[in-house]
């Protein structure tokens, strides 16, 4: 009754091309943005802001990056964490060696470095496909981490191989509190998500999808394979690189290369799959689900301890967590292989008929 398209006419092409064609969607999204930008920094406590929301946003950005590559362009990659590592360490180096550089400039340049690395390791995608490519991207994962650990220049010859991200200063304003770091992350993620959404609706995005659906056919209708695939790798790595820089500067503070191990790559891939392959909204949903799941499991175990008085020892708990995490992934894939984004879509269609479904 409340949520419907009836009566909403589109008289111009601009109206027809809106991201949210339904008025209720626009209102809801505006409210969501207002809450995220204005209410959350005011009411959120330090734990929520710095330990949950900021990593969630960073993970969303990385997930968008991988989704562009895997979901839209159809190239399976297991090297996401490596691109993030490049972003984090290059942002550190740009800040270190060019202190006059504004921090957002460093992030962008770090993203470009990650894009360059991504293009180099994307070259094999022109010849190999599917799981062969996935395993090949593992080469990137291991090689990049090895290089970051062995080549002293990246870590400024720190003996432990750990870097400490510099203080963030934007236009003379020091970003130190959790709320301001959250706001910085949110702004970057919001702008880049909007860019991604629009890019995927443009000619470039459509070329990606054509390559994903059948690359030979795409080539036949005149899509340049090399340009498209390398562009997909570059854009995806750029997003991952910026996400890595944010991860280092706004969330962790001190970073070692091992923080970007294969586990992170898999985690991001899970977020893509759980959220929905080929969906920007799904990237956020998936990132939220995977970030919140361990916290939720912790809460449940605390609740069990509280009500039943059963003391679970730590090792057992972490093993149980592994089992439940894995089990939920499998369960999810079986129940809804298209991810949370699909559930959202189904929900919206139901809402259109509500409360009179017949």
């Amino acid at each position: 009754m409340l949520y419907r398209e009836a009566g909403q006419f589109k008289a111009t092409y601009v109206e027809d091309q809106q991201i949210f064609p339904i008025r209720q969607d626009r209102i809801a999204f505006a409210i969501l943005l207002a809450v995220a930008f204005l209410v959350v920094p005011l009411v959120g406590n330090q734990y929520w802001l710095s330990a949950i929301l900021t990593p969630f946003l960073v993970a969303s950005l990385a997930t968008i990056g991988l989704n562009i590559l895997t979901g839209y362009a159809g190239q399976l990659s297991l090297g996401t964490a490596a691109f993030m590592a490049v972003g984090a360490f290059m942002a550190y180096n740009f800040e270190l060696r060019m202190p006059w550089m504004p921090i957002l400039g460093s992030f962008a340049l770090a993203g470009l470095c990650a894009a360059a690395v991504g293009m180099v390791f994307g070259l094999p995608s022109l010849r190999i496909k599917g799981f062969y490519l996935a395993v090949a991207t593992l080469a990137c994962q291991f090689f990049v981490l090895w290089a970051l650990q062995r080549i002293g220049w990246f870590t400024n010859y720190s003996t432990s191989g750990v870097i400490t991200a510099q203080k963030i200063v934007i236009l003379g304003y020091a970003v130190v509190t959790p709320a301001s770091k959250y706001l910085l992350t949110l702004s970057v993620v919001a702008v880049m998500a909007l860019l991604a959404k629009n890019l995927m609706r443009s000619q470039t995005g459509r070329a990606f999808m054509a390559v994903r659906d059948m690359d030979v056919a795409a080539e036949v209708i005149g899509i340049r394979m090399m340009r498209t695939k390398l562009l997909a790798f570059a854009i995806s790595s750029f997003y991952c690189g910026v996400a890595g820089a944010l991860y280092a500067f706004c969330y962790l503070g001190t970073v070692e290369p091992e923080a970007f191990n294969l586990d992170i790559s898999f985690r991001i891939l899970f977020m893509v799959i759980v959220g929905g392959v080929g969906s920007i909204l799904g990237s956020f949903l998936g990132a939220g689900f995977i970030t919140l799941l361990p916290i939720f499991l912790n809460l449940v175990s605390g609740w069990i301890r509280h009500t039943f008085g059963v003391e679970l020892d730590h090792a057992m708990l972490s093993n149980l967590e592994l089992i439940i995490f894995g089990g939920l992934i499998i369960f999810f894939l079986i129940v809804e292989p298209l991810g949370l984004a699909r559930l959202w879509q189904i929900g919206k269609e139901k809402l259109r008929l509500w409360p009179f479904p017949h």
Binding site: T70, F142, L145, I334
Partner: protein, 299 residues
């Protein structure tokens, strides 16, 4: 260059490659029959080795423990087919791949939940030390255990080859590997076949687990050997048993040679990525691996 040292490194590498091939075999079996890239193979190896070692430590006879573990692995294979694969029939390969990653978490958690997470030693009665006569006569150190592992791998491949070529089930397996639908059409029960394949992969995982467990001890790090087997797979081709063996030998030998002769120039630690880069360069020339099926694109 000292040729004896070179030979020693080469032989050591080749024999280490055999160990990689043991793990890669499990991947190949499942990929051939069901088109699933089973990332959980490493976790299965860990699960098998840990179960076996824990049974032996609880005073069970070696052979009975072996049989019991084999039974557990076959049960596991059937359970996986039932609970994970059957509901996911007809899903795209990436979904199945993700499911096996989820399975990896479950298996890792489960095995440590049941048997505890402390590392165990495993004795097979074969000493892991250089053979006397060889080091005396030719001054080359080759471990007796490595040769034993190579022998086991040889027997395993022979048994698998016999099983695939000569038995009724083996022929059905090959039919399924060629074409699921055609196999179904001639009346081969697909579900049974998949359960059998996963059970056989469980058996291979047990053998690999015993070998690796005896070499490095049974501990959590055992799950990472799956990562060692991946470059072997893409080098040899996903669908080929022979490819797994040859790929394993190439990767093992080149990895050790690179570590010894190239390592000092770049600061060591090459082993983590060198096999991948080697396999990657190789794929640029032959995109389907050494023995993989040639891929033909049709619009």
């Amino acid at each position: 260059m000292n040729w004896q040292f070179f030979l020693e490194v080469l032989a050591g590498g080749l024999l280490a490659g055999v160990m990689y091939a043991l793990v890669a075999l499990g991947f190949v079996l499942i990929y051939k029959a069901s088109g699933v890239f089973n990332f959980a193979q490493g976790a299965m190896v860990f699960f098998a080795a840990l179960t076996f070692v824990s049974l032996v430590e609880r005073g069970m006879n070696f052979w009975i423990a072996l049989l019991a573990t084999l039974a557990v692995m076959i049960g596991l294979g059937i359970a996986i087919e039932r609970a994970v694969l059957r509901p996911l029939v007809n899903q795209p390969p990436i979904t199945l791949f993700m499911a096996t990653i989820g399975l990896t978490f479950v298996l890792e958690g489960l095995s440590q939940l049941i048997w505890g997470s402390q590392p165990h030693g495993l004795e097979l009665g074969i000493p892991d030390e250089p053979m006397q006569w060889l080091s005396e006569s030719a001054n080359i150190n080759i471990s007796q255990f490595d040769l034993f592992a190579a022998l086991v791998a040889g027997i395993l491949v022979a048994v698998l080859a016999l099983f695939f070529q000569k038995t009724r089930i083996g022929r059905a397996l090959r039919a399924v590997a060629d074409d699921h639908q055609a196999a179904l059409a001639v009346g081969i029960p697909l579900r049974q076949i998949w359960a059998i394949v996963w059970a056989v992969a469980g058996f291979v995982a047990l053998v690999a687990g015993l070998m690796w467990g005896a070499r490095n001890g049974v501990q959590y790090a055992l799950t990472f050997i799956a990562l060692k087997a991946l470059p072997v797979l893409i080098l040899g081709g996903f669908e080929s048993v022979a490819g797994a063996i040859v790929g394993g030998l190439i990767i093992g030998a080149s990895e050790k040679l690179a570590e010894v002769y190239l390592g000092p120039f770049v600061g060591g630690g090459l082993e983590s990525w060198f096999p991948y880069v080697l396999a990657l360069l190789f794929l640029l020339v032959r995109p389907e691996g050494l023995f993989g099926e040639k891929h033909i694109d049709r619009v």
